[in-house]
Symmetry: C2
Subunit: 187 residues, 2 copies
């Protein structure tokens, strides 16, 4: 019986990622994840609603980071500048977890149900960013368009960042892609 489980959450997450990677997400049960982490199913459910949530538990924190950065950007900042600040803040939070992020991305990309969940989370994130833009006075449709464009940049940057062999920081890739989008939209 495990009486004391330091970082049970992290251990469960790592156990889940290992099993999803080895035998596939669809072939892994919560009982197996708990056992692999040396913990009980009950402990698992104290941290995660189900095995899918292990992969998406970071979404809420990410959304908070984006929204806070948009809201807190200087009053004088344009919508694009507020978006750039939010991308920056979000990128910084990932830098130390690249291997973890890469592992997660491989799992999500291997399963259509998880890809759908990912798209759904990104759509929610874009909607929250658009709302934050409106809160700082950006009118529609600009608020929605800049939020969607920003999330597009973030997703593309994230994918490039987790690629094998990449040595650039996420923050740097985000800047490059945002500049690229600005350039392409300038014709």
């Amino acid at each position: 019986v495990v009486r004391w489980a330091p970082d049970a959450r992290g251990r469960l997450q790592q156990a889940a990622f290992e099993l999803y990677g080895e035998r596939g997400y669809e072939n892994t049960t919560v009982a197996e994840i708990a056992e692999h982490a040396g913990l009980t199913k009950r402990t698992f459910f104290r941290y995660f609603a189900d095995k899918r949530e292990v992969l998406f538990s970071g979404a809420q924190a990410l959304q908070k980071t984006f929204v806070a950065a948009v809201v807190e950007a200087p009053e004088s900042a344009t919508a694009l500048e507020a978006m750039a600040a939010a991308l920056d803040a979000a990128a910084v939070g990932f830098e130390e977890r690249r291997e973890f992020a890469a592992q997660r991305q491989r799992i999500v990309n291997a399963n259509p149900e998880l890809q759908e969940r990912e798209r759904s989370k990104l759509a929610s994130l874009a909607a929250a960013v658009a709302e934050a833009m409106r809160a700082r006075g950006v009118a529609e449709p600009a608020a929605t368009l800049v939020a969607d464009a920003g999330i597009t940049v973030f997703r593309a940057a994230f994918e490039a960042w987790v690629q094998a062999g990449n040595e650039r920081r996420l923050q740097q890739i985000v800047h490059v892609l945002l500049d690229e989008l600005v350039a392409v939209m300038a014709g």
Copy 2:
């Protein structure tokens, strides 16, 4: 026994839309759609794989329209100009079907499974447009970024177009939103 069914496809689609709108997508069966259209289930399955496909059968044609317009844009056109041409071509194909499109959008928006399917179709569409961009020499990441931005504009324009009370043409809304995105990305 129906011996002759002029426009069976259109009748099935209209019957499906009526039932989805009245009693909800999830509470409607293929048998009911066929009966409502005065046709058989066998006839239904000659045109559609399942009841969901009635709502997404236009996706392939839309993708062809987008891709063809990108590929056929003048060699001198920038990525943005090729994207604008594709948005234009896609918009024109919808103008005469606004009531139909509005009805479809209400059904999709009322059901999370259908919204996920819609996002998945739009992601495929963006990937196809990005490929067409690369085929005309646009490098990555510009190809993916301009394609995603274009599909964002299309989706937002479509939503505004089907709103009750809107009297503008889809093509006009697409132009306005594309200009707006260009302006917001210019800072």
